[in-house]
């Protein structure tokens, strides 16, 4: 699905988090979104997913204006996101965290669960099979009955990715998928993302600070600074861009000069 952000601005109090930002994520790509801290990447994610309402500008999914659509409705258009700090359901088991996700569950209606239990069981059987598959893929099968709150940071990140795989959504916003995940697993995760994009037509937009991962996965890469797009191109192109270097270095130097 094509994500278009048109002239979006958002301020929190006196902080202009996003200013006149315009960008497009083309369908079928793994688009990287990088930039120094405070560049507005996460705010932009929140705006695209519908968790934050922009002060100005529009968001379009495949040409449809979704700016006024609440986040749960955007999910049903095929858009799903993960969170920078993983949000798992701590007092539910790892497997329940996954089973929750698939839509069209008849058992989510009270009267169906009271009066038509076999329908609930039938759908749950499909969901259980898929959940076991995803758990195996992520190496979490042995933890299926553990409470999600007991997982390590990296495992929670994986569980969040598992929720993406449980959803029917093909457009995915990943907020730092690599943070806290060990190298071996990260390699597998990257391979999985590549495969999904290439073979199954997924679209990814990835915020990531791990430049090795960005270099491996993302094309194109969009660089944000001070709330707006600074550069766009292949990883090698943006890496050599003088403005990009200045944004990263300038920010760092500026911060150091402060005290």
């Amino acid at each position: 699905m094509r994500i278009e952000v048109r002239d979006v601005s958002k301020a929190f109090g006196g902080v202009q988090a996003v200013r006149h930002c315009t960008l497009t994520v083309e369908p079928g790509t793994v688009t990287g979104l990088i930039g120094p801290n405070g560049a507005g990447k996460s705010t932009l994610f929140d705006i695209v997913a519908g968790f934050t309402r922009p002060d100005a500008g529009r968001v379009l999914l495949d040409g449809r204006d979704v700016t006024d659509l609440p986040p749960h409705r955007r999910f049903h258009l095929g858009l799903v996101r993960t969170f920078q700090i993983p949000r798992v359901f701590a007092r539910m088991t790892v497997e329940e965290n996954l089973r929750l996700v698939p839509p069209r569950q008849p058992g989510e209606k009270l009267f169906v669960s009271w009066l038509a239990w076999p329908r609930v069981v039938r759908r749950e059987r499909e969901i259980a099979a898929r959940a076991a598959e995803v758990l195996e893929l992520l190496g979490l099968l042995h933890l299926r009955d553990e409470l999600a709150g007991h997982l390590s940071g990296g495992q929670k990140k994986l569980l969040e990715f598992g929720r993406v795989l449980m959803s029917p959504c093909r457009t995915v916003l990943l907020d730092e998928p690599g943070a806290g995940v060990n190298r071996t697993l990260l390699g597998r995760l990257a391979a999985l993302i590549e495969r999904l994009a290439r073979e199954e037509g997924y679209t990814f937009c990835v915020v990531e600070h791990d430049m090795d991962l960005v270099a491996r996965l993302c094309d194109p890469v969009i660089v944000m600074a001070e709330g707006t797009v600074l550069a766009r191109g292949s990883f090698d192109e943006v890496r050599r861009d003088r403005r990009v270097l200045e944004a990263y270095l300038g920010g760092t130097l500026g911060a150091e000069a402060e005290p």
Binding site: A49, V88, M92, E95, E96, R125, R144
Partner: protein
Amino acid sequence: MELVGLASFLVFFLTLAGIYALVTLGLNVQWGFAGQFDIGIAGFWAVGAYTTAILTTPPSPFHLGGFGMPFTVGAAAATLLAALVALAVGRICVDLRTDYLAIATIGIGEILRLVLKNEEWLTNGVRGIAGIPRPFADLGRTGQALAFLALVLAAIATVHALLERARRAPWGRVQRAIRDDETAVLAVGRDVRRFRLESFVLGAAVMGFAGAVHAHFVGFISPEAFDPLYTTFLVWVMLVVGGSGNNLGAILGAFAVWAIWSLAQFVTAWLPLEWAARAGALRVLLVGVLLQAVLLWRPQGLLPERPPPPVVRDERESR
């Protein structure tokens, strides 16, 4: 003779504890499943009690009706009206986060109580409604008491079965997920507002039903009976002691706390005269201390919540 007295006290005790167990099950839907901090229990309880009182008493010049309808109609209408009141209230304030919801529901509970106290044409005000018919009256004194107890126990079993099914179903899974992290539930496409409203209404409906059973048990209700201390506060203690989120825990907590509450009555009866006047306050103090002890040493309650067993299981082994 002693034994007969003891037995009839036991029946009385179990019936009243059972009514509390029903209310606690209702609160468990709102707080235990969904994490809604409802402090307006007294309000829904009273709506249920008054609804059935007005519908089932014989015609009276002192309040609306009565309409002389059977107990079953009264109880059904009480459940429905409590649900409708919760729906109206919920549409306004179910979006509020825990502490704000608590404030809003305290207010609404008190408003309902004041309406019952002041709208004399409707409820006979502070003088209350008497003569609420007791079901099974034709069975004689003992038979009636036993039959009513059986009715209460059957109601507990039915409500427990319905709520346990709801908890185990995907509906309950979404509720527990909302309790843990609302934002993440939105991210996977669930209309959090709808689910919150449903659990709020379901819990209130159970409270309203319990209120109706209570009214038919005591036969007389007045606004005094719905003092938050004896309703909202005690029910909260019951759920916390029994185990929030656990339906059996809610029932156990109700019986355990009601046992302590009732026994305290006997203990305070032996107190020297100058203390006897303070017996009521001592009872509350005792329950307060109990609550503190549970929160310190067993914060999850007597029966801690456990995730329900999966509806079906894919028996794949980890390699």
